[in-house]
């Protein structure tokens, strides 16, 4: 095999691909050829690096030099300087916020050094479309280990002992789920990988699939072996993830070609196969019963779960469904042992499987934070560490207001609670949830009522409509929030919102409705002041809800600094600005459409918003 001395790892996750990383790869190859370096430097595409906010990203090994925000036009210079002359290029390196000196190496950047990688251990290190890369980093060893040295019961016990809990949101102990499925007598059973990740702002699963699809497949094979009597598995991938679907298909085909899926794996009696299914394009299909209905070819609607899917799931057979990240953790637990896994995280799971949260969790960090992207951190880390250390703090030096965890089903966590350790139970206690791991940071310029409305709008749109509390309840709640943000809210509305929230939570059929009011409940609980300001004072403290704003012109500034320049008057679409050139201008509140154009065009900050 050809050996190179330099590897250029080009991030080819969805984020970087949309920022032209494939074009960058082409340009790199072209320049390398031009300088006759093709025998020294190899360009490798990898899965998502995690630091999506800085994409497109190229990491140059062996030094591990991290380049960000690259453009195709930068490549000739980069290749000539770094590869030909051996001088890493400072101007493409990462510079921490408010500092000037760049950090050249990837592992010295706080965003990366603050993380603990288990599920994402191969990210940026392998080409996800080559099975050999995965094997070379310890891949399929766990499978070899269980098939040759462990009985199915031993595998199950190891997973139970590890305290691994479902990473898709609910946090149900994986070992308990497997055991229940194992105990039920049936000739046909299934395992499913739920890759229908739909939360706005969440991309953990996508990134694992795009970066390391074989780890998920290996986890599923091990799961099927431990539960026994399972010959078939399904991977259900969200329709909107074309790259993830492609990489899964490639990986499954490679596993089949190499005999890692199919009959008599590693020449043992164990046989298992996997099919990849493209999702139906609805958020609710991420719910286990709706997902199974969708695989069967039926409309993706949930059913009541008085009989659990581990007993009667897909085609009425016992089915064990786990999330992408959960499966990706399994091979590592088998290889390194349950004791290693329990050494990371919180609580004690030796007696009660619900007694703690073990291992790591991948979060997608988004919103008003400096370093947006994907982070994997140990359970029990505080939100403050995630936001301020790994995330690099709030953008533009603004003030932190809240973190929304768990996507549209989670809740807002205010500043007073950000020193809380992040695990399943602590987050649930304060009214939010781990969810699949979305984390949206909210700063002082975000209106909490508006945010709650945004998330509710999403769940209301995605409600499948089968049960009334979810279909009608979220609709009415949305109407009330709409009223409040339009300045037509009444104080009684807040009590009504409380009551409706509880009703929807209590009486919805599935977890979509059961958790949809969480953003409203938590924002009412922790940010009631903001609601009161909206309904009572008719003001939006964050200046987001336009109908509640009043625009005025500071006549002194207008005259002294701007000499009545008239730019605002010229640009006002409503002709609401009165005044002559070289004199102070005024806004006619009756005509003002509150569009904010005057604020944007005024060069002297004379427009005031209240």
């Amino acid at each position: 095999m050809k050996q190179y001395t330099i590897n250029l790892m080009v991030c080819a996750g969805t984020g970087c691909v949309s920022n032209q990383s494939f074009e960058i790869k082409e340009a790199l190859e072209k320049e390398i050829l031009k300088h006759n370096l093709q025998n020294e430097a190899q360009v490798v595409t990898t899965g998502c690096n995690g630091f999506c906010g800085a994409g497109p990203i190229v990491v140059v090994h062996p030094e591990g030099i991290f380049y960000q925000f690259l453009k195709v036009s930068d490549i000739p210079y980069l290749v000539e300087e770094h590869l030909l002359k051996g001088r890493p290029v400072k101007k493409f390196m990462y510079v921490p916020p408010k500092e000037e000196i760049p950090i050249p190496r990837m592992n010295q950047i706080p965003f990366f050094s603050g993380q603990t990688l288990v599920a994402l251990r191969n990210r940026g290190m392998i080409d996800p479309e080559f099975i050999e890369d995965y094997i070379a980093r310890g891949g399929y060893r766990a499978l070899a280990k269980v098939l040759t040295t462990m009985s199915p019961d031993e595998v199950l016990n190891e997973i139970k002992k590890s305290g691994l809990r479902g990473r898709g949101g609910g946090g149900f102990p994986t070992g308990v789920k497997w055991e229940t499925c194992k105990k039920i007598q049936s000739d046909r059973k299934f395992v499913i990988c739920n890759a229908d990740e739909g939360d706005p702002g969440a991309f953990m699963d996508r990134s694992i699939i795009e970066g390391d699809p074989h780890s998920v497949i290996e986890g599923m094979i091990i799961g099927a072996y431990a539960i026994e009597n399972i010959k078939e598995g399904y991977i259900y991938v969200r329709m909107e993830y074309p790259l993830a679907i492609k990489r899964f298909n490639i990986a499954v085909q490679q596993a089949k070609d190499n005999g890692l899926l199919g009959n008599n794996i590693f020449d043992t009696n164990f046989s298992f196969d996997i099919q990849v299914r493209r999702g139906a394009g609805a958020f609710v299909c991420g719910e286990s019963t709706a997902l199974m209905a969708s695989i069967e070819g039926n409309p993706g609607e949930p059913r009541a779960k008085y009989v659990h899917t581990v007993e009667r799931g897909l085609y009425d057979c016992p089915t064990c469904l786990n999330n992408v990240e959960t499966w990706a953790n399994v091979p590592q637990i088998i290889l390194k042992g349950a004791d290693w896994f329990t050494s990371i995280g919180t609580g004690d799971v030796s007696i009660d499987p619900w007694g703690g949260s073990k291992g790591t969790k991948v979060f997608s960090l988004a919103g008003k934070v400096n370093n947006t992207g994907l982070v994997e951190v140990p359970m029990g880390i505080t939100l403050r560490e995630i936001v301020f250390h790994v995330g690099g703090g709030i953008r533009d030096g603004k003030k932190f207001k809240a973190v929304q965890t768990g996507g549209p089903s989670g809740g807002f966590i205010p500043e007073s609670l950000i020193d809380l350790p992040v695990d399943y139970d602590e987050l649930t206690k304060i009214g939010s949830m781990m969810g699949s791991g979305g984390m949206v940071v909210v700063d002082e310029n975000n209106c909490i009522v508006d945010m709650a409305k945004f998330f509710l709008r999403f769940t209301q749109d995605e409600s499948c409509g089968k049960c009334i509390p979810c279909r009608e309840g979220t609709k009415r709640m949305y109407d009330i929030l709409e009223r409040i943000t339009n300045g037509e809210g009444k104080e009684e509305d807040l009590d009504l919102l409380d009551e409706l929230s509880n009703m929807v939570v209590e009486s919805s059929l599935c977890a979509l409705g059961g958790s949809a009011p969480n953003p409203v409940i938590t924002s009412l609980k922790y940010f009631r002041d903001e609601y009161i300001a909206h309904v009572k004072d008719k003001k939006c403290p964050a200046h987001i809800c336009r109908p509640l704003l009043t625009f005025t012109i500071d006549e002194k500034i207008c005259l002294d600094a701007g000499h009545g320049c008239g730019v605002c008057k010229k640009n006002c679409p409503d002709d609401a600005i009165i005044g002559e050139r070289k004199k102070a201008h005024k806004i006619d509140p009756v005509k003002c459409g509150k569009c904010g154009v005057c604020f944007d065009v005024c060069n002297f900050n004379a427009i005031k918003i209240d």
């Binding site: 001395t5 030094e63 002359k85």
Partner: protein
Amino acid sequence: MPKLKIEDLEKITEDYKRKMTLRDGGGKVKINVHLGTCGIAAGARKIISTFMDEMEKSKVTDVILITSGCAGLCSREPMATIEVLGNAPIKYVDLTPEKAKIIFEKHVLNGEFVQEYALSVGSEKIQ
């Protein structure tokens, strides 16, 4: 395609080891060829190719070859710094492909440094 056997996993890993060592930034020995304008002019490229050929021939997996800028002593280029993990780095000067071969053989593979081609032991202090 034949089915993979468990032994094959180890074989693939062995084949890919150098690639992975490279990406991990690990490796027992680091060869650093100085590639300033002076180095390039004096023929540092040939030195790199020599080291690469030798790495290929000897099938080592834990050696990484990196390049860096001018080391400051332009009159003695081509230069290379060799660092065996845990030992002080050694700077070699006035290299030729023949000298590079000997250095690779003795220092990189066997850990004995070649006094006659060496300039100094250790690195400058970085303030």
